[in-house]
Amino acid sequence: MPELLPDPVQYAVPAFVVLVLIEMLVAWRVDPTRYEPKDTLTSLLLGTGSTVAGALTGSAVVALSVWLYQFRLFDIGYVWWAWILVFFLDDLAYYVFHRLAHRVRYFWASHVIHHSSQHYNLSTALRQTWTGFFSLSFAFTLPLALLGFPVPMLLFASGVNLIYQFWIHTEAIDRMPRWFEAFFNTPSHHRVHHATNPRYLDKNYAGMLIIWDRMFGSFEAERADDRPRYGIIRNLGSFNLFWAAFHEWIGMAKDVATVPGWKNKLGYILAPPGWSHDGSRDTSDTIKERWREAGGENSAPVGQERPQAVPAE
């Protein structure tokens, strides 16, 4: 990171550890199924690996950003309004990245790691990709460097965005005040995003601000009668760290290698996750379609309401 601004994530890590511990103790008292030791270990090791991968590729991303910055359209500098604007634009760039990460298999292959836990707790927040650089996740903020926002400012804003997204990965908080739920991403909104219930698939892509989902038609409110079930459509059924990190890349490579025809090969890379050349697999769209045909939108779903708190023995 260029000098001038500190890396906020570095300072937040000790707080992450303490908050995971506090949430785990709350879960132990309230609902012990919220945590599972092997799941927690997998999530946290994936997070550690992601930090290592980021350290290895970070300088290349910064160098590219600085190189692009020399062609900037405006000299924005560190004026006060730029600080406000950069948080909005960085969050919008995150929304675009995140939406594509769910709709294009090449990006999903990297992002799926974050969704691969069937639990939803603060350790899940740290279950981060090892292959973000390979799937070009950095490219979505590069236009902001071209616009003229200083690179250290962009890195700082991205760091703050990442830190914000930590606390929303919890079942310990039900709802925030209504005004907050209207404007910001919250635990409730993000539980929807991590859910595999047909109603909730491909919804709530927000980073910090839920306004983007409300603006671009991808918002879905959490319902008491449709309790989120977390994970992915084909849950891994394994705590193997490397399988979690690379399974979708391996699956994609196998599909591309075995299917005949360039159009099909491209489909397995660029079409939505679950797309297949013979229609034998499920995408989120086909799942939603079947669910609607079965009257799912108007009926009480199988999950029923949120469970009552279970006191510890």
């Binding site: 785990m24 199924t33 599972e36 030791p37 550690t48």
Partner: protein, 133 residues
């Protein structure tokens, strides 16, 4: 990231996982009944219409047959249930009252249901009929 930070992170990671283990959180779920198996299968596969289910004696696994030759295999994964959907019968074998289903995936593994001699044989025959259909 320096080596000290990395080692510190790993210590914190294993400490948190160790505390989770020590607290005893996240015990494996049991599939308590045919009804529970049907519900889990319907949750795992949108539009699935369950017809009959075989549930392991200890609730450690279940096999649910649905309409249109769809089959959902369930087994615990940590404190949750993981599922696999088959269109047509998966390979199976019977031994000592156990029905062993091959998921076809190394990382998911095979799944064994303790059903008793008669039920295991009946379900194997049932799957055989579906394979031949």
């Amino acid at each position: 990231m320096d080596w000290l930070t990395l080692i510190g992170s790993l210590v914190a990671v294993f400490a948190l996982a160790g505390i989770a283990w020590w607290l005893g959180v996240g015990t494996p779920p049991a599939i308590g009944s045919e009804e529970a198996a049907r519900r889990h299968a319907a949750e795992a596969h949108s539009g699935f219409r369950p017809r009959e289910a075989a549930v392991d004696a200890d609730g450690r696994a279940a096999l649910v047959l649905g309409e249109d030759r769809e089959i959902v295999l369930l087994r615990p994964h940590g404190a949750r249930i993981a599922a696999r959907v088959f269109r047509g019968a998966p390979p199976c074998a019977v031994s000592d009252g156990e029905l062993k289903i091959a998921s076809g995936e190394r990382m998911f593994g095979d799944v064994t249901l303790r059903l008793g001699e008669a039920e295991a044989a009946r379900w194997a025959a049932r799957l055989g009929e579906l394979s031949d259909a």
